[in-house]
Each structure stands twice: as C-alpha cells, then as structure tokens.
Amino acid sequence: MTDTPIAPPPKSRFRLALESDVFYTFRRSPVAVVSALVVLVLVLSSVLAPWIAPTNPFDPASLNLMNGFTPPMEPNAFTGDTFLLGTDDQGRDVFSTILYGMRISLFVGVAAVTFAMILGITLGLISGYVGGWLETIIMRTADVQLTFPSILVAMLIFGIAKGVTPVEYRDQMAIWVLIFAIGLSDWVQFARVVRGATLVEKNKEYVQAARLIGRKPGAIMLRHILPNVLSPVLVIATISLALAIIAEATLSFLGVGAPPTQPSLGTLIRIGQGFLFSGEWWILFFPACTLLALALSVNLLGDWLRDALNPRLR
C-alpha cells in the first residue's frame, strides 16, 4: 500500500464565490446584507409587478372613479373596497402604481447606467490605450462636461432630444430619451477611471506578450485589459445606479421625464404633490418612501462594494 496523494476535487464556481473575500466581508456587514435584501425585494416586486399588483393601474376597465381618494387600509365610503396603500384621485390603487412606477424607475436607471458604462468604458479604453489626439479630444470633452452638474446636462440633452423627435412620438419616446439623457450625462466617471487603469495595465508584461504574438489592438483592449480594469467600474456602476434613479425621479418630478402615461416614481410624487394640501398624504408619501428606500439601499450597497473591493481600506 503506497500513499498516493489525493488531489482535492476541483471546487465549483459557486463554492469559490461563497468562500471568497468579498462574500466574507458581505456576511460580516449588516448594513450590506440589509440593503441587499431591500434591493432584492424591490427589484423582484417590480419585475413581478403584473403578477403581484392587485390591479393593473393602466387598464381603464379595472378603475372605478367612485374609489377615488380612499385612505390606506380603510374601506371606501361608497364601494366598500379596501386598498393597502389607498387610492389616488382616479381610484387607482397606490400600491399597484408604485409597483409599476418602480419598474419604470429601475428600468430607466439600469438602462442609463449600462449605456453610460458602455460608452465610458469604450472611450476610456481607447483614450488610455491609443492615446494621441483622440485621447486629448475625449478627455477634454470629459473635463468640460464635468464642470457642469450632470442633472443640468441631462435636462439639456432631454430638451434637445425632445425637440428633435416629432411631436406625435414624444410620449412614446420619452423613456428612451430619458435613458439617453441620463446615460450621456454620466459617462465621464467611467471613462476617467478606465483610462487611468488602462494606462497602468498597458505597460505590464502580459499586454506586451499579447502584442508580441500579434493580437490586434481591439482584441487586446477587450480580452486582456478590460477584465483587469473592471472592479472599479463595478463600484462606480452601483453608485451611479443610485444617482441615476434619483436623477430620473428628479427629471420626472420636474415634468421633463417619464410621461403621465408611463409614470415612474418621480411622476407619482409629482402627481401626489398636488394633493398635499387637501390632506390626501398617502398619494405622495408611499411613492416617496419607495424612492428613498431604493436609492438609499443601492447607495449603501455601492459604499460597501467600494470598501470590499479596495484591499487598501481593509
């Protein structure tokens, strides 16, 4: 009998993830766990809105005007219907409108950040790796744009894009215009970070090796450099998501965002503000709380991620 060393069985990816440092710090941070749970619940309930929501607030057939202004958890004086979070002026269930509104808020936020991320990463990689006059143009543009608050840039882009789209398509296109405007106002952060990281990575040996064996610049940027600059991008993306959700809500609240036919949380708050003086507080209060919970928990998650991925802070 000879002792043959037994190699441990290879670990699955899932197991590796569970044993990683990042997951360890996650478990040890109550703030991160709670905010991740809140985000999970909110995202799930907005994705599953058509199945969870008691009514479809955009189906005129299901609305009963008699149900208007029903306070939360109280039976309506005329119909006797009870609503968890009350109803608005048209008898729409506030809970359902929040679920559908959060859907739009989240969709716009995620899409805008994805757009900003792709644009920023592309421009950052190019200006870091290629350099030259291309870099000068890109980074100067970034500097100039950074001088202006991004909400102002988004408003301006929204206004211009609205002017370009024909009048009859404006309401349909509003969501896409909004995504474009918020995304375009937010690419600078990504471009700056990716450029900085690319400048460091491009002189390392593995990049030189890839260049020696004749890989094309595009392939080197995407396959070799990009995977190594992604972790700061992830942090910025999370924090940007919180900012994008707030930016979307602000624009919609100001009446230059999601149209009343596709109300986001900001639009709902705008509608609710009109009833503040007449005492129907719930139309405003619940959408506002949802927005806060969503933005705050994504923000806290981003803060935690920044600390977790930055070994110097640990």
Binding site: F148, G255, N299
Partner: protein, 326 residues
Amino acid sequence: MLAFIIRRIGQSILVLLVVGLVAFSMFNFVGDPIDNMLGQERTAEDIARLREQLGLDQNFFVQYFRFLQEAIQGNFGVSYRQGRPVTDILLERAPATLELAAVSGVLAIVFGIALGVFTAIRRNGVWANVIMSASLIGVSLPTFLIGILLIYVFSVELGWLPSFGRGDVVEIGGWKTGFLSESGLKALILPSITLGLYQMTLIMRLVRSEMLEVLRQDYIRFARARGLKDRAVNFHHALKNTMVPVITVIGLQLGAIIAFAIITETVFQWPGVGLLFINAIQFVDIPVMAAYLMLISVMFVGINLLVDILYFFIDPRLRADRSGGH
C-alpha cells in the same frame, strides 16, 4: 503665474465658444421654430415672412457669426413661446434666482463651516454624532423631497410659512427685491433652506475631514504647547489651513446652487430663471434654452477660473510650484 492665468483664460474662452456652437446648433437642428410660433392656421406667406424676420433663410456660417455677435451683446432672440425678447425675460427673472441663491449660499457657507468645525473639535461628543448622522440624510435625500417635506411640515401642518411664490416684492431701479417686505422674507425661508441644505452638508463634511487632518499635525501640537488658547489654535491655526480645498468646493458649489435652483424653484413655484428653463424644456422653447445654457456656462467657467486664480492668493506655496502651469 501670469502664463498660467493666461492659459486658463484661453481655455475658458475655448469652452465658451464650444458651448456657443452647441447653443447655436440647437437653433439650427432642433424643431422648426416656425411650427412653434405660428398656430394651425398659417399661410405660406406668414411662414416666409417670419423666416426672414428671424433670419432663418441665411446659411450656417452667417447665422453662427451673427449668433455670436448678438450673444456677446446679450441678445438671444425672441422666445418662441412668449414672443418677447429672451434677454428681457431673463433680466426680469434673474433677481428672484440671484436672491434665492445668495441667501442659500450664505446659509450653506456659514452653517457648513460652523458645524464642520464644531463636529471636528467635539469629535466624540453626542451632538457631533447627531449632526453627522443627520447630514447623511441630507446627502441622500433628493432635493425635491426635502422641499416637499418642508412644505408639508411648515405650510400644511403648521401653516407658518407660504409654500409658493415670492410674496410681495419692492422694485428698486428695475430690481424686484423680496428682502424688503415681511411676506417676501417669509417666502424666502423654505426655498433657501431646501436649496442650501445639500451644499451645507457637503461643506460641513469637507470642513470636518480637513480639520481632523490638520488637527493631527505637529504645528497644532506646538501651538498648544506654546500655551495658546483653544480658540486661537482652532480658528487661526487649524481652520485657516483647511481653507484651500474648502474654497474650491465652495466655489464650484456656487455654480451648482444656480443649477439646482431649477429644482427648488419648481417645487416652490419661485418665479426665477430655473422655472423659466424648465418651462422652456417642456415647450421646446429653444431661444430660452440656448440663452440659459450660455448664461450658466459663463457663470460656471467664470467661477472655475476665479477659483483657480484665487489659489495663488490663498496658498503662497502654489505660487512657487505651479508658476508654469501643470
């Protein structure tokens, strides 16, 4: 130093020219002003006449040159929506925004620095901790929700303060001020808190962290060893040395105050430039949008330039280091 300043001025002018091009392109490519100005019942003759009147029949370069020329003289054309010169409308609205911005700026700076110093000196005190936690809320609450919250508490529930408008204004040589009447001053309170709160928390947190950094330095310990009073050490030695980053942020935030005034003005229906801009976006009123863009760019670029130049006067160390620019 002079070379640096000249270079910065050159850069600023370049930025303004680019912004001018953007503003001008808006006129050219966005929407058809004729569509916006004339109603459904229009004749080909009406269209041609208006086209000529607005100078839309000339070529791109002639129009751009004319646009720049006019813009430098402060002429941005006629609002599509109101049919009046944009400059007149802006001038009429400017005092409201400037007064609001000034009051919130002063609030933010005074309370921001005071609270920042307080929380840094009493780092472990109960009140400092309360203020720090409260400031987290101030940073994460969107501006418009702060405004709505204040309206709910002070206008709806308590009924102490008005929730919209400027109150009575007194006109002094074309400048309509709200400072001189009781209702005008009352109307200022809620909007200026809403607008200043975010900037205040930002300044406060910055002052605090800079102060903590400085208080650890040797010269502070020496100053204390020399038997100087706490007040002298904290304010003359410590606070003074935190001022460089603080002034940068304050400078940049002044521009942000004007921009964020858009949100506050909408919440409180404050008749200022920001509300005008939002209405212009809603109705695609290009001249007003373009003029606002130019106005705010001049402000932002000017403030940035000023902050950079101010560095040299505040921090003598920079004069030696950065004389050739960077």
